[in-house]
């Protein structure tokens, strides 16, 4: 774990999933890590720009990586699977071939943007706190035990696969989320779809296909007895949380399981308050019993 990170919250945590941003900032403060802002960065392209305009994707990624470098950080901290994959993928392409990097830098120079020398790593919050010194540091701030809370980990695709770009852990049998759930004093729940897709990338363009994917983790986690699902990805969160009622209509059964961002689960164990974890910003609301198990003091009149 580093002392300072170039912080890249990405679009969702900056816009519709603001509760993830505020929870992350709160947990970073507890962990005593400094998050350096990058006010000029764009969207990572979410795989969409990579698919539509690959050369443009490579350039905007280099611009993001270059800004991190300019800020004096050697690591970008991400809190989204899709940002993690897209930035790492571009970073690998840029670091692997000096000719590619030189051409991209020539173009960046021409438009007056910061260039990139190739010295930045991109790492997700999950990786930083689930192993090594980061894990020890989290254990030391996890002052509340979430005993009795059954948590189904949902990894999402783009923090696991392709392993040659991500490669933090075994992509078929990951255990970083389970390790953190246990560090919170809660009980991890196992189910096969925890490493499968939530359908989010195609939920607008191919809603039925996406819902066919989304119902699997929701139904399996409920059937396995989970109180909540936790995910390190705000896109998975939006899919599992906001599209849950559509998934229920698709599958013809009641669902209604609350979805937590990883930073919210960690935050609850670290005693961070509702005003920063902002559970009210979820479409699928936390039931009183789950809220009690999370032990978050609910402050009357907290602004959404």
């Amino acid at each position: 774990m580093q002392e300072r990170y170039a912080y890249y919250p990405g679009c969702l945590a900056s816009l519709s999933q603001k509760e993830l941003d505020s929870s992350t900032r709160a947990i970073a403060k507890k962990l005593e890590i400094e998050l350096i802002e990058m006010p000029s960065v764009t969207c990572c392209g979410a795989g969409d720009i990579h698919e539509a305009k690959p050369d443009y994707y490579l350039h905007i990624s280099a611009r993001i990586l270059g800004q991190a470098e300019q800020s004096g950080c050697d690591t970008i901290l991400t809190i989204c699977n899709v940002c993690t994959l897209n930035l790492r993928q571009a970073n690998m392409a840029l670091q692997a071939d000096a000719a590619v990097l030189n051409r991209v830098n020539d173009n960046l120079k021409e438009v007056g943007a910061a260039t990139y020398q190739g010295g930045v790593d991109v790492r997700h919050l999950l990786w930083e706190v689930s192993a090594g010194e980061g894990y020890d540091r989290f254990k030391s701030i996890a002052v509340k035990s979430l005993e009795g809370l059954k948590v189904a980990p949902f990894y999402g695709c783009q923090i696991l696969r392709p392993a040659k770009i991500l490669g933090f852990e075994n992509s078929d049998r990951p255990e970083s989320l389970e390790r953190l759930i246990m560090a919170c004093g809660a009980e991890p729940i196992d189910y096969p779809a925890k490493v499968k897709c939530c359908g989010f990338p195609i939920v607008l363009a191919r809603e039925d296909v996406a819902l066919g994917e989304l119902v699997q983790p929701l139904e399996q986690a409920i059937d396995a007895g989970a109180d909540v699902i936790v995910t390190p990805c705000p896109l998975c969160h939006l899919s599992l949380d906001a599209w849950q009622r559509k998934a229920a209509a698709y599958s013809g059964r009641e669902l209604g399981i609350p979805i937590l961002h990883l930073a919210q689960l960690l935050g609850a164990a670290a005693g961070i308050e509702e005003s920063e974890l902002k559970f009210k910003r979820h479409v699928t609301r936390l039931s009183p019993s789950v809220k009690a198990k999370l032990q978050v003091p609910s402050v009357v009149g907290t602004k959404v």
Binding site: C11, S14, T42, G45, K53, C157, R161, L204, V304
Partner: protein, 352 residues
């Protein structure tokens, strides 16, 4: 040190004359006559160098001759022995048994997914072949000036389709495709990787027609980017990357009317206009204003949770003029290039 008794290893024994080990394998069985499935567990003695396929051969030779599976080359070239090992599709001939035995782990072998099971580990590949056929897996030069001797291709041009040319049609990618599980009609990773092998071929003259067909229903925009195909492919084809390349080629040809392509365009435009994604534009521009209106009750659920950003004040990153200039520069550069000059495609960069 147990002796190798079964007939199958008499040849191997001479070649390897090696240590043996006891291995236990759990196999999913399916009997088409009764329609019933079950798991059988077998223990066999195999050389320490044995693969999962060798273990199945030993089971068939010494325990149960009715066990059915496909095999041929035994060296990861023919693509016959695709099956799931502990739930993940792989070539049985490419997975060594030793690490499992040493870990005291009993592997479970089951048939590939997304394809109907015929018997035990044998799946019906007919739907797989139908999709391969559907993408016209052959060169169409439209009778264009056939050279007297042979086509000569610049090595840089063959490099563009090198990875896709490595496909051995084993079906491991299809087995794990999350989109195909939800939409069995999706062309899927193997057929789309094959399609790119021809779309990207400098000799092929059917490019526009191919891309028009591939960018419609059940085509490239069905892919949910779960990356299971890249993860499972035993030959490094990276089918998902091939699908992304097809997306880029369709954009170049102007095939952007599919909702998936429109979705991608909103991301491109958002970065150009302001930096971060314009979430409120994503829905109407992807599914059309009429469908967006039908979805208003859903949008209200999101709005109540504070999840609809104010469309009147979209996010603006600092210094975004740099990005505008970058976009214009790259578009100008791309215009001057022949369509296939995509040597700088990030996916064309091999891992180092």
């Amino acid at each position: 040190m147990a002796a190798i008794e079964n007939a199958h290893f008499t040849t191997l024994k001479g070649a390897y004359d090696t240590e043996t080990m006891e291995a236990t394998v759990k196999v999913r069985r399916y009997n088409p006559e009764t329609g019933k499935s079950r798991f059988d567990t077998f223990t066999v003695t195999i050389p320490v160098t044995a693969t999962v396929l060798d273990a199945l051969d030993a089971i068939k030779d010494t325990c149960d001759g009715t066990l059915s599976y496909r095999k041929s080359c035994r060296m990861s070239v023919c693509g016959s022995c695709g099956m799931r090992v502990d739930g993940g599709a792989a070539l049985a001939c490419k997975v060594p048994m030793r690490k499992f035995v040493e870990a005291g782990h009993t592997i479970t072998v089951s048939p590939m997914g997304n394809l109907p099971v015929i018997k035990d580990l044998v799946v019906d590949m007919a739907p797989f072949w139908d999709k391969i056929r559907a993408v016209k897996p052959f060169l169409d030069t439209k009778n264009a000036d056939t050279p007297a001797k042979e086509w000569r291709i610049d090595p840089a041009d063959t490099a563009l389709i090198h990875k896709e040319s490595l496909c051995i049609l084993c079906g491991c990618c299809v087995s794990e495709c999350n989109s195909m599980e939800a939409d069995p009609e999706f062309l899927g990773p193997a057929a789309l990787a094959k399609a790119y092998r021809f779309v990207g071929d400098a000799r092929d003259k059917d490019t526009r027609e191919r891309l028009r067909d591939l960018s419609g229903a059940h085509g490239i925009w069905d892919c949910t980017r779960c990356y299971f195909c890249n993860q499972r492919c035993p030959k490094g084809v990276d089918p998902r990357d091939a699908i992304a390349k097809l997306g880029a080629e369709s954009f170049k040809e102007g095939f952007t009317s599919d909702p998936g392509a429109k979705h991608a365009k909103v991301f491109v435009d958002s970065t150009y206009k302001g930096g971060f994604l314009r979430e409120t534009e994503l829905v109407p521009k992807t599914i059309g204003p009429a469908n967006a209106i039908k979805d208003i009750p859903f949008a209200l659920q999101l709005a109540r949770a504070g999840k609809v950003p104010n469309p009147l004040s979209p996010h603006k990153a600092k210094d975004n003029d740099e990005v505008k200039r970058l976009w214009k520069l790259l578009e100008k550069e791309a215009k001057g290039q022949p369509r296939r000059a995509t040597a700088v495609h990030p996916d064309a960069v091999q891992e180092g």
